[in-house]
Symmetry: C3
Subunit: 159 residues, 3 copies
């Protein structure tokens, strides 16, 4: 019996377009039977924060300021040509028009296809967040050593 | 007989400096006999768009707007310190002065060294482009599953 | 006897937050006995430039201008929400407050844990720099072929 193919993605970026790329690869790989691990860290944590929590979360003023500025899922900017948020909407419209899955649909597909979601312990500590601030699909909050262990013998992408 | 070493690069970025990095790695790896696959997606598609097509391409107004804003090969910005396009020119001058290959030369070297060029099906669909809008060296337009298949058992970089 | 696990990181970015990510992965992997290779290229060279050298280095006016603009270790910007350098300081304060290692501490830990530092020959040539402009922990200045050789059979991340 051969080992299952594996791909692990560190999603560091909180940019809309890079999140689309990460979830396209994640769901695409899971669809052809890869084990897929998504590790959210730094700005990438925005993608999996609960919507309502935009303003209030984090311990301490500094952390709250950062969290506010980071926004959440529906506030992801584009890595280029953002135009104060107009472009992500424009791109979402284009995706709908072309029958390409939107980011929301790609995330849902990834969950259905059993992509594993992990969150980075250190970033969460810095920001004073906790497990409850994220969508319930987060399997575990973990550090580098544990992540390397999970990712071992597979591909690793840093996005 | 041992399998040929393999490296696959997803070029997501359309930044001039990142394109230089991608093609430096690609041509350098091909020169020491690696199989090299370059997969152009999102902004990275700019690098391989035909020059003349700056204004007119894409189906529909939204896609045309995006394509116009994205520019083409000779309009790639720097990821930092871009100064309205002055810095890529400055860097190209530096590269010439130091006898380092310019981006154009790196792309030509990659083609000569038989680096495989692929373009991302989904991004092309979103933008309403077609194979003819790109340089003829593009071997195939394909999706995630096919790409993973090609990249299997090699290194994968996301740039 | 099994081969030692290996991870190699190309640090292309000069952003403060991405440098934190790179050194967190590097020191974390080294701590669990991975062989770790850090390859500094382009903007990433800033992280390992000697502090005092901010203004004067590089051969020729163009290179000096670039080097000045690139700054050095203590001038790394954040990849997002930089606010003229305020945010890296804010993030460093947060890291101290939460007892998370700061970038300086992560670099020191990486050195203690014997992470290998390499610098990219081509970028250094473009900028007209030399080995003496960098911290003494740089083991070697090398090109793509040599790097691939060192990274072979391990993971490669591009940050």
């Amino acid at each position: 019996m051969t080992e299952k193919k594996k791909i692990s993605i560190v999603l560091f970026s909180g940019d809309f377009d890079k999140a689309v790329a990460a979830f396209t690869i994640a769901s695409g790989a899971a669809a052809v039977n890869y084990e897929v691990n998504l590790f959210f860290t730094f700005w990438g944590l925005n993608v999996i924060k609960k919507y309502k929590n935009r303003n209030a979360i984090g311990r301490g003023f500094l952390a709250r300021t950062f969290n506010f500025l980071m926004g959440g899922f529906s506030h992801l900017p584009l890595s280029r040509l953002n135009f104060a948020g107009a472009s992500p909407k424009l791109m979402t419209n284009l995706m709908r028009k072309r029958n390409v899955a939107t980011l929301k649909e790609l995330i849902e597909a990834s969950i259905l296809l059993k992509v594993n979601f992990y969150a980075c312990e250190m970033s969460i500590n810095i920001l004073g967040l906790k497990k409850e601030d994220f969508i319930p699909e987060i399997k575990e909050i973990l550090g580098v050593a544990k992540f390397l262990n999970i990712a071992e013998k597979g591909e690793i992408l840093f996005i």
